[in-house]
């Protein structure tokens, strides 16, 4: 028998509203925005302190912050932190401590695991020093290895939530922590590594000259995608991340929640998430073709097929941010109608908000974030600030229980799952 607090902290929280709407929502967005901007200025902004947004180097850290926060909250349920500490400590302290733990783990993974282990003993393009040692300019060496390292995280942050969202942690739902966390971590790590080897590793076949013909497959997507670049896969994987998160925050896991058997639900859900991701991907590509004319083989910037694929992922993230703001800070919109109507209204709010957010982003990002102007400039990379903002919202919700707008007053001892059966 599992303890809900120990194994399902987030789901079993009882949260009380301390501030009424819309003030609660506005304060929440402002709070996250301020934390986001402090972090952006310290770590990322080209006019700031560390200036890591180059953009891939900074984006690499941001991507790993996201997957580590998923590990901390969703996979390991905050193990090894004790329940007593979480129950009795002020949210500001839990937020700060868990955020610093996150940063420490990110540092250990990138500097320890990738730069100084895997990059040295296995795949050289994961290590900046190795590439520089081969005569590469340090700036590009860092960008190339950052892209590879971040793609492990990008793929993992698409696959990892599927276990919870689609499979409801089945078949490991009865394991205690850290056994459950370690199991889910191992399974998703294996799948992520396989996905990376098939989706991103071929990009590195053609990135270096002479082509790495024996070490990596030729990009198998080249003929139908009209590009050799791995950006083709970056785009739909990003849409996959958005698809799984929107299933969770916007669609309340519908329609898959209607399937009683959890394993069958997981499999159908996984396929459904993938199909929705492909739909987002082709639709955003189509919208770009409508706005700017069809992509042209071999072109660069806004006419480049590979940039368009990546931009589809960026547009999807621009949709996820309003979806998460609506869920976390504004109680997910109207609730007084039936479920299908509520969800349809949410979608309308999210689509309109996405258009507004898109306009605001491209108008103000050069002055506020220090990015370059124009849609397709190589240093205009909305996924970096976009996902950092998402990470901050997750810190705020998962580490701080949305303080000060909400207060966690306890955890439920008994919970029913989506089919009305008690979770044991």
């Amino acid at each position: 028998m599992i303890s809900l607090k120990n194994e399902m902290w987030l789901e079993s929280r009882i949260m009380e509203n301390k501030i009424a709407q819309p003030l609660r929502g506005i304060i929440g967005v402002l709070f996250s925005s301020i934390i986001f901007y402090i972090l952006w200025w310290i770590f990322m902004d080209p006019r700031g302190i560390l200036k890591w947004y180059t953009p891939q180097y900074g984006y690499m850290y941001i991507r790993w912050i996201l997957i580590v926060v998923i590990w901390q909250a969703y996979v390991f349920n905050f193990w090894p932190f004790s329940l007593k500490w979480r129950e009795n400590t002020h949210p500001v302290i839990t937020g700060a401590v868990l955020m610093f733990v996150n940063f420490a783990v990110v540092g250990a993974v990138i500097w320890g695991f990738f730069y100084h282990f895997l990059g040295i003993y296995s795949i050289p393009y994961l290590s900046v020093d190795k590439l520089v040692g081969k005569g590469m300019t340090e700036f590009f060496a860092r960008e190339y290895s950052s892209l590879a390292i971040l793609m492990f995280a990008a793929i993992a942050s698409w696959l990892s939530p599927i276990v919870t969202v689609c499979f409801a942690n089945h078949p490991w739902q009865n394991l205690k922590q850290p056994e459950r966390g370690i199991t889910i971590f191992c399974v998703t790590a294996l799948l992520s590594i396989l996905a990376f080897l098939c989706l991103m590793h071929p990009h590195y076949h053609v990135l270096f000259w002479p082509w790495q013909e024996y070490a990596a497959a030729y990009p198998w997507w080249a003929n139908f995608a009209h590009t050799l670049s791995g950006n083709f896969n970056v785009g739909w994987v990003m849409c996959g991340t958005v698809s799984i998160w929107m299933l969770e925050v916007t669609f309340d896991r519908y329609p898959y929640i209607l399937i009683k058997n959890k394993i069958r639900r997981g499999v159908v859900g996984f396929i459904g998430v993938l199909l929705f991701a492909i739909l987002l991907f082709v639709t955003f590509n189509f919208i770009q073709d409508l706005a700017w004319g069809p992509a042209i083989d071999g072109a660069k910037r806004i006419l480049a097929p590979d940039w368009r694929y990546q931009h589809s992922g960026e547009l999807a993230i621009m949709m996820l941010i309003p979806a998460m703001i609506l869920n976390f800070y504004f109680d997910n919109g109207p609730k007084k109608y039936s479920a299908p109507v509520n969800i349809a209204l949410r979608m309308i709010i999210i689509i309109v908000s996405t258009m507004v957010f898109h306009w605001l982003y491209y108008k103000f990002s050069p002055s506020i974030l220090g990015t370059q102007a124009a849609y397709s400039h190589p240093q205009q990379f909305p996924m970096a600030p976009g996902i950092l903002f998402i990470c901050v919202m997750l810190f705020h919700n998962w580490f701080m229980d949305l303080w000060p707008g909400k207060k966690r007053t306890g955890n439920r001892d008994v919970m029913l799952d989506d089919d009305g059966e008690e979770i044991l």
């Binding site: 700036f139 739909l279 409508l290 069809p294 979608m347």
Partner: protein
């Protein structure tokens, strides 16, 4: 009544969501051609000329790649304003008297159908000492003094194409100048005689001639058989806008000549195809193609090399920011890259270098 209205709304919401997503899927795939109009065919007649000769005055924009990248990185990265970057101008072993800066400039001799000639100076380089030497080598300084050069076309505001403007204006302060839309205030101030000490940049010879800013989105005629097209490209070091030249050589076809082609050579060729009459026959290309200037790479550039043969280009002159790695791959792919002579500090014969010439027509 209330229940059936609720039921109707519920059905409407379910159907609406399904219809929205289904329409998204259908219009993005099977119905795509219904929504996207066919590409325009160029109909702007720029006239015809007899021949175009391009002399590479200088294509060595800088002498040490790592140094120039480090300068940008030390200043805060690729987004920093070029007018406040302290470019390395001393102690660079491969540099010109220790200065890493060189510059890009090309002299275009245009012969019209009636036999008359026009001279266009495309860009004016960076390091004025280096540019003075290059101009002297090719006789450009005397041509400027004698007002033989009809116009200075600045492809874009980048340091290696524009910061050497003093070398032009000291010989001909009233030369007509054409810039693309996007030049910043600092650029116009430099033309008027400003200095930027941090960037080791000055101009002591204020421009007194006509200055024209050319908007993007249209073909701007220059001479019979010659026009410019501007693009809104946002580029590193806080630069915006670039223009390229297009020529229509009798019995040969169109020729595209660029400074850096930040907009992309394929984009430039496509723009020519969709705007200029005869654009489906691109005979030649010359100029910097900005593919692997720092000898970096991206699979997108392989896409370009694989796509370029379909344009049927018969003469491919390239240099400067094209990158040696790109030229090597282009040659392996069978593209008609014109080799150079590697003189006057140009490093390799893979493409046209300083002092080399290419003739179209």
């Amino acid at each position: 009544m209330g229940v059936s209205r609720r039921g109707f709304l519920k059905g409407l919401a379910l159907g609406g969501t399904t219809g929205y997503l289904a329409m998204a899927g259908a219009s993005s795939t099977v119905l795509k051609d219904v929504f996207i109009p066919p590409a325009a065919v160029g109909d702007f007649d720029i006239g015809t000329c007899k021949s175009v000769k391009c002399t590479v005055v200088s294509e060595t924009s800088w002498f040490n790649n790592k140094r120039v990248v480090q300068d940008m990185k030390d200043a805060g990265g690729l987004l920093v304003n070029q007018y406040i970057i302290p470019w390395s101008n001393t102690g660079v072993k491969e540099g010109y008297n220790g200065n890493n800066a060189g510059g890009y400039s090309a002299l275009i001799d245009l012969e019209l159908l009636d036999g008359s000639k026009k001279k266009i100076l495309l860009d004016c380089g960076w390091n004025t000492e280096w540019m003075d030497e290059c101009f002297k080598r090719e006789g450009v300084d005397k041509m400027l003094k004698n007002k033989e050069i009809d116009v200075l076309v600045l492809s874009h505001e980048h340091f290696d194409h524009f910061f050497g403007v003093e070398s032009v204006l000291k010989n001909c302060p009233d030369i007509p100048i054409i810039v693309p839309k996007g030049f910043y205030k600092e650029g116009f101030d430099l033309l008027k005689g400003a200095s930027f000490p941090v960037a080791h940049l000055k101009n002591d010879y204020p421009h007194t001639g006509p200055l024209e800013v050319r908007e993007s989105g249209k073909v701007h005629p220059l001479f019979p058989g010659c026009a410019t097209i501007s693009f809104d490209s946002a580029i590193i070091c806080r630069v915006l806008g670039e223009q390229g030249l297009v020529f229509n050589v009798k019995d040969k076809g169109l020729v595209a000549i660029t400074g850096c082609c930040h907009m992309g050579i394929i984009s430039f060729l496509e723009e020519i195809k969709h705007r200029v009459k005869g654009g489906d026959k691109i005979y030649g290309i010359q100029g910097g193609l900005h593919i692997s200037p720092f000898e970096d790479w991206d699979p997108q550039y392989d896409d370009l090399i694989q796509a370029l043969p379909s344009y049927g280009v018969e003469v491919l002159g390239c240099n400067h920011c094209t990158g040696y790695l790109t030229a090597e791959k282009m040659i392996l792919a069978g593209l008609p890259v014109v080799q150079g002579t590697a003189r006057f500090r140009s490093k390799k014969k893979l493409f046209l270098g300083n002092g080399d010439q290419i003739v179209f027509g």
